[in-house]
Amino acid sequence: MTDVIDLDAVGVAAAQQIGEVAAAHAAESDEARHLAPAVVTAIENSGFNALLMPSAMGGRAVSPRAAVVAIEQIATRDASAAWCAGISMGSNHLAGIIPEHAARAVFADVNRGGAGPFNPGALALPDDDGVRVNGRWAYASNCNNAAVAACGVILTENGQPKMTENGVEMALAFLTADQFTIEPTWNTAGLTATGSHDIVGDAVIAPELLATLWADKWPDDALFRLRTFDVLGPCLAAVALGIGRAALDVVAHKAQRDAEGPAKPGPKPRLADNPWHQVEFGRAEIRLRSARAVLLEATDEAFAYAARGDEPPRPTTAVIGIACSDSLAAAKHAVETAVTLIGTDAVREGSPLLRLRRDIDAAGSHVMFSPMIVSGLSRELAGVPTAAYPFLPAP
């Protein structure tokens, strides 16, 4: 089982299998608004959940590229399953920011998934037995299948939010599944089955289960010399890339099918006979492929630094951050182009493109893809060091 991800190609095969299962159970998952048990099992059995975990804990600590390629592949079949896989892998990666013994306790089974509702939903209040967190966290994707949830909290001083020059000071509190309950609030049109519900919890946790995104990481693996969102960012951007890929494949398949038949008279020629549509298709293809290529290039570059013992340069992380945002935009452009080229059939209920469009819109609403973070990352890239949450800490 642990061998499946040694090579991209084998990882892709495992991802394809998960995609099959997810597609076959999509109706069941959508109805439940979280992944069907068969899909959860397929992901758990693939070993993907351990892909980005410390090797000392039995994780595989591979380069993020392997995760991106796998998640993207799942997303071409079912974006909700891919999103949950990305959230799981990414939140399991956080095992590296809490002390080893705490990580081993909380992340007991490396094949289980996790959740990571980062938006602060509680204050972190010192308590006799540790730290008390009592709150509600929105958009807790994959909470139904999570062994652990990394929940955003606000650190306190004398019971009041602790302020820094960049606003309140935030951290993550790790709650196990027995410490939160799910309130079924997830009712969007896209990414229907991600179970991105609210969770509520009132727990006292050990102080070491509280950590910041920028905490030093204990594992020896190169992977843990990356900044946290060098890993988490690409895992979610991969979902967008897969959605975009699937959308353009719909167009190509139709073009090929149509090309086997006769030319169509009238105002709507086949793509093969419509140079402008060809150009629109080609532009969308190159845009999507470019976004993917630069995301992987920057991720590889970061990992290469890590592999030789260094933290990646801040501008590399800035490129990763902008590339995540651009992946979303390129995928959105791919979907809209596909819808335009397919025409009215594309917007009918039941059309695969309609589903892809809802999924990309829902993905785009994640704060990580907000166009508003691009300015800070760009400032860093211009060589002026800049805090750019969640990708870069204050310089």
């Binding site: 049109a189 335009t340 594309a346 469009r357 819109d361």
Partner: protein, 390 residues
């Protein structure tokens, strides 16, 4: 726009639209749940005469100046895309100008306020017979058919198994049907324009007398009035564009509302974000500019028609081109701004989300396509070939 543009003695339809708009806004979610316009709203639109904006005055229509028609639909669309779309389709009665007035009166049966539904694409077959045709066919996207009282469908007149030709073109015409001769098949489950009731319709071996068919793309209208001297696509342009301009404006207005308080992450509120300021200015200006060109182009085409001159190819192209710009500006506006509104805008019932769904769905209406721009481009390059699609 001064009210003198209204050529009928009716009250200004834009005022009537403004009175009904709040109702469309409030009940948009209900219309989406019903997948069609609530019957009592359709009745209100009918009573306000908003289904006969473009109907010939000789048939009891308002025969409104096209800019008035545009602004009327726009007013409705600022409140709700589906409601405005349904109203625009209900006004397809404009094409009754291509029937002999006696035949048209027969169809209206004394009620000029009848909403029309139907699909122009030639998806039906018409077999010639004595004095008319036997028509069969099924058409998708017959918006508003459930409350319509008159239906039309595009047909190809057949010569045995192949289309009959008129010169080098097929004999594509529109056949008019009484509402009760038409079967409605409940097929409308869409993401955008969900509340338009755009179900499939079908007729089977229905006799349609030749006088109840027409070919407005190719033939002059029977009613001699300026509005019907415009090309068919120009005549319909204010209806389609009114939807697009209004929905785009509605989306920008709603975004500005959200931006007053909404923050994203730990940063500034949206309205203080410089990137957002630039993008909202662009969105606002592009839509205003496209709208200004559309009104200008429509006015020029109207002036030619009003002076009794035949429609000018450049003017026709300008109207069609401006129509494209209006839709693009609106689609671009909502697609650019939506991501700034954050996760809360994903909710199905958020109006910004609804405008986005409606506009992106409308983009695939036949009227909005790069093919139209190619036609316009050929005219820019100096082609003077008459183009029946302009």
């Amino acid at each position: 726009m001064s009210s003198t543009l209204t050529t009928s003695v009716d009250a200004d339809p834009r005022v009537e639209a403004a009175a009904i708009a709040p109702l469309l806004r409030e009940r948009a979610a209900e219309a989406e749940a019903l997948r069609t316009m609530p019957a009592d709203i359709a009745q209100k639109l009918k009573q306000a005469g908003l289904f006969r904006l473009t109907l010939p005055a000789v048939l009891g229509g308002r025969e409104a100046h096209p800019v008035v028609t545009f602004e009327t639909i726009e007013e409705l669309a600022r409140a709700d895309g589906s409601g405005a779309w349904t109203t625009f389709i209900g006004n397809t009665g404009a094409l009754l100008a291509w029937l002999d007035p006696g035949a048209a009166r027969e169809l209206l049966d004394g009620d000029p306020d009848r909403a029309v539904a139907g699909t122009l694409a030639p998806l039906g077959r018409a077999l010639p017979t004595d004095d008319g045709f036997v028509v069969s066919g099924r058409w998708p996207c017959a918006s508003g058919v459930l409350h319509s009282e008159l239906v039309l469908g595009g047909v190809l007149v057949m010569d045995g198994e192949v289309p009959r030709m008129v010169g080098d073109r097929p004999d594509w015409r529109f056949a008019w049907f009484p509402r009760d001769a038409v079967e409605v098949i409940d097929t409308w489950h869409a993401s955008g324009l969900r509340g338009t009731g755009s179900h499939d319709i079908a007729v089977s071996d229905l006799f349609v007398p030749e006088r109840l068919t027409c070919a407005p793309m190719f033939e002059p209208a029977c009613v001699d009035a300026p509005l019907y001297r415009m090309s068919m696509y120009n005549l319909l342009a204010p209806l389609v564009s009114g939807f697009a301009a209004g929905a785009g404006r509605g989306a920008i207005d709603r975004f500005v509302e959200i931006a007053q308080t909404k923050r994203r992450g730990p940063g500034l509120p949206i309205r203080e974000d410089e990137q957002c300021q630039v993008l909202v200015a662009e969105a606002d200006l592009q839509l205003r500019a496209a709208r200004a060109l559309f009104v200008e182009a429509l006015g020029a085409a109207w002036d030619t028609a009003a002076a009794g001159r035949p429609a000018d190819l450049h003017q026709r192209a300008a109207v069609i081109g401006a129509e494209q710009l209006v839709l693009r500006a609106s689609v671009d506006a909502v697609n650019t701004l939506l991501p700034f509104a954050g996760a809360s805008a994903v909710a199905e019932d958020e109006p910004l989300q609804r405008f986005a769904r409606d506009l992106n769905a409308a983009r695939h209406h036949i009227a909005f396509s790069a093919d139209a721009l190619k036609r316009v481009g050929r005219v820019v390059f100096g082609s003077d070939a008459n183009d029946s699609m302009l």
